[in-house]
């Protein structure tokens, strides 16, 4: 009789565990499409015009995505395990990320552009956070959250360069931005459903609203501070969900 009970309890336990594992399964795929004023970004070769009417090219466009959370149907947020991604226009593999997610239905996602303050003060890191990427300031410890480099004929810097290295994780000019994006249709994640989201990241937004940037006056930022914060406040507006495929 005793053994019988124990066996039943054991079976229940097994089933319970199995169900737990099943619930964890699911993937959300995000593809970042970098654009300038809506047109696909082409490095080096294409001339673009900023909101101030100045022409420019882009040679490098990179940003960190981290601290991803899912927005549940009741608007509460479900934090996902810590993961850091460096989106690099020059590396197409970097632009699609697969995020393991618990099964369920979600209204959208939130993520941070940049690297949270804790990882900025925790010493040597690996993976996307390996300073080998160059997305790290050695003289003033901290990650470059987002980077845009290029040229503009109106830039007063050497070789008409544009250098926008945006960072700073503390104080009033912290460049950290958390972006909530609500999906046009709800996202159902399960063992058999892997929603794919396409997010446009528009470099035009960096220099547009609310802080209009003229390359004639600002062409180089490579320290944390007010200018970096202004750009970060602008690029907060650069993301749009443009496509959702619910497979």
């Amino acid at each position: 009789m005793k053994l019988h009970r124990l066996l039943i309890a054991f079976c229940v336990l097994c089933i319970a565990c199995k169900k737990d594992i099943k619930e964890q399964e699911g993937t959300l795929q995000i593809t970042f499409k970098n654009v300038v004023n809506g047109a696909a970004l082409k490095l080096n070769t294409t001339n673009y015009t900023n909101a101030a009417g100045e022409t420019f090219t882009i040679s490098r466009f990179r940003y960190f995505i981290s601290n991803i959370a899912l927005i549940k149907m009741d608007n509460s947020e479900l934090k996902l395990p810590a993961a850091y991604y460096l989106i690099n226009e020059a590396d197409s593999a970097s632009k699609t990320i697969d995020i393991p997610a618990p099964g369920g239905e979600y209204r959208g996602i939130t993520f941070m552009v940049g690297v949270d303050s804790i990882r900025n003060v925790s010493g040597a890191q690996t993976g996307a956070l390996d300073p080998v990427s160059g997305m790290f300031w050695s003289w003033n410890s901290g990650y470059i959250m987002a980077q845009l480099e290029g040229t503009s004929p109106v830039s007063t810097a050497a070789n008409n360069a544009l250098t926008f290295h945006i960072g700073g994780f503390q104080g009033q000019y912290s460049a950290l931005q958390t972006i909530p994006l609500i999906s046009p249709i709800s996202l159902s994640v399960s063992e058999i459903r892997h929603p794919q989201i396409t997010i446009n990241a528009d470099a035009y937004a960096w220099f547009n609203q609310p802080n209009l940037v003229r390359f004639q006056t600002i062409s180089t930022i490579h320290v944390p501070g007010e200018d970096a914060w202004k750009i970060a406040t602008n690029y907060r507006n650069m993301f749009r969900i443009t496509d959702v495929t619910d497979l």
Partner: protein, 352 residues
């Protein structure tokens, strides 16, 4: 009978435990025990996140002395950080680098780094592990690209073996390099000077009359910033040095963008001070008596004074020649011969 049973059980247990013990062959890195003095505060560096091992420390030491960490394989960390100068650069006011480049600050001594909150004269580096990134990549120092360095190390069979021994199998990455260097740096500790022996009441060790007088002078004039037992409070202060117009060094303000930090630099430790001239962030004083002179009479000579000059120093720290002499004798007791002669920290010649 019960007793017999217990004995038998114990006997078998003994055999069994011995067998298990002999089964476990020593493999993987061996723990390295760091003995720290009881009168020091808790280290800032979290050693639990990078447990020291014999192999890790040895690898860090090799990296520290390997000139291949620089772009043209001429300059190692140890090139500028000389052990006999408490790992400062003896006789060099400003740091040197590849291609005959000169930096704009003096080379700080390296010791007791695990108690340091942040690094560099301006405190721009916030963690011991990433500190080496600055000199390795700075074009005025070792001028190497981090990715290139990692590729060089991965291409080197000897290093692949050493990294495997210290951190287990796998690619060498920057984190392993930095953790190995941090392990070695964590062993660069100085707390066995005569001063320490006196404080620990070691039998037969006493200050001489001059040293004892110098210690009093130190306590009355210097100790609030050069706080014992580390001989620094880790703060940033403007000690009233006139700005060096050719270097244009704003100090801590460069990091914080705060005008209140203009011309502020880290308070350096006074340990091993007599062994590590020249002094100040730009190495402008070759002799410790020049430093005394600055504090004694140099600060008040400046008109107008920079507003950020430390309030404790605005009126200078007047010291008579005999007080300066006694202070000099006291500072000599902060030299740690065991540290600057330690065989465990000394340069290794890398031939392969």
């Amino acid at each position: 009978m019960t007793r017999y049973l217990i004995y038998t059980a114990c006997f078998f247990l003994l055999i069994w435990s011995c067998r298990r013990g002999s089964d476990v062959r020593p493999s993987g890195p061996q723990p390295y025990t760091l003995n720290l003095p009881a009168n020091f505060p808790q280290p800032v560096y979290d050693l639990s996140q990078n447990p020291l091992t014999v192999q890790g420390v040895a690898l860090g030491r090799r990296l520290f002395y390997d000139p291949r960490l620089s772009r043209d394989s001429t300059i190692s960390c140890g090139f500028c950080h000389q052990q006999f100068a408490a790992f400062a650069h003896f006789d060099h006011p400003l740091s040197h680098g590849i291609d005959n480049n000169t930096g704009f600050r003096s080379v700080p001594g390296l010791f007791n780094l695990i108690w340091q909150r942040d690094f560099m004269w301006d405190g721009g580096v916030n963690h011991l592990e990433i500190q080496p990134l600055t000199p390795i990549t700075d074009p005025n120092e070792m001028g190497e690209d981090l990715a290139h360095l990692i590729a060089k190390l991965n291409a080197d069979a000897k290093y692949r073996g050493l990294f495997n021994d210290a951190f287990g199998a796998g690619e060498i990455n920057s984190q392993k390099v930095f953790k190995a260097l941090a392990q070695f740096m964590a062993t660069m500790n100085s707390f066995d000077s005569k001063y320490d022996s006196v404080m620990r009441k070691a039998p037969g060790v006493q200050f001489t009359a001059e040293e004892a007088s110098g210690y009093k002078i130190f306590q009355n004039n210097c100790a609030s910033c050069h706080k014992e037992p580390l001989f620094t409070d880790g703060s940033y202060r403007n000690n009233g040095l006139p700005i060096n117009a050719s270097l244009h060094d704003a100090g801590r303000m460069r990091i914080t963008n705060n005008t209140n930090d203009y011309l502020k630099f880290k308070v350096p430790s006074l340990r091993n001070i007599i062994k590590s001239p020249p002094y100040m962030h730009d190495g402008r004083f070759y002799d410790i008596f020049n430093v005394f002179e600055h504090y004694s009479s140099g600060i008040i000579l400046q008109i107008p004074q920079t507003p950020t000059v430390d309030p404790l120093l605005r009126n200078g720290l007047p010291l008579t020649p005999s007080e300066q002499r006694d202070l000099y004798f006291f500072l000599n007791t902060l030299t740690d011969p065991g540290f600057i002669n330690s065989k465990a920290l000394s340069e290794i010649v890398i031939t392969n």
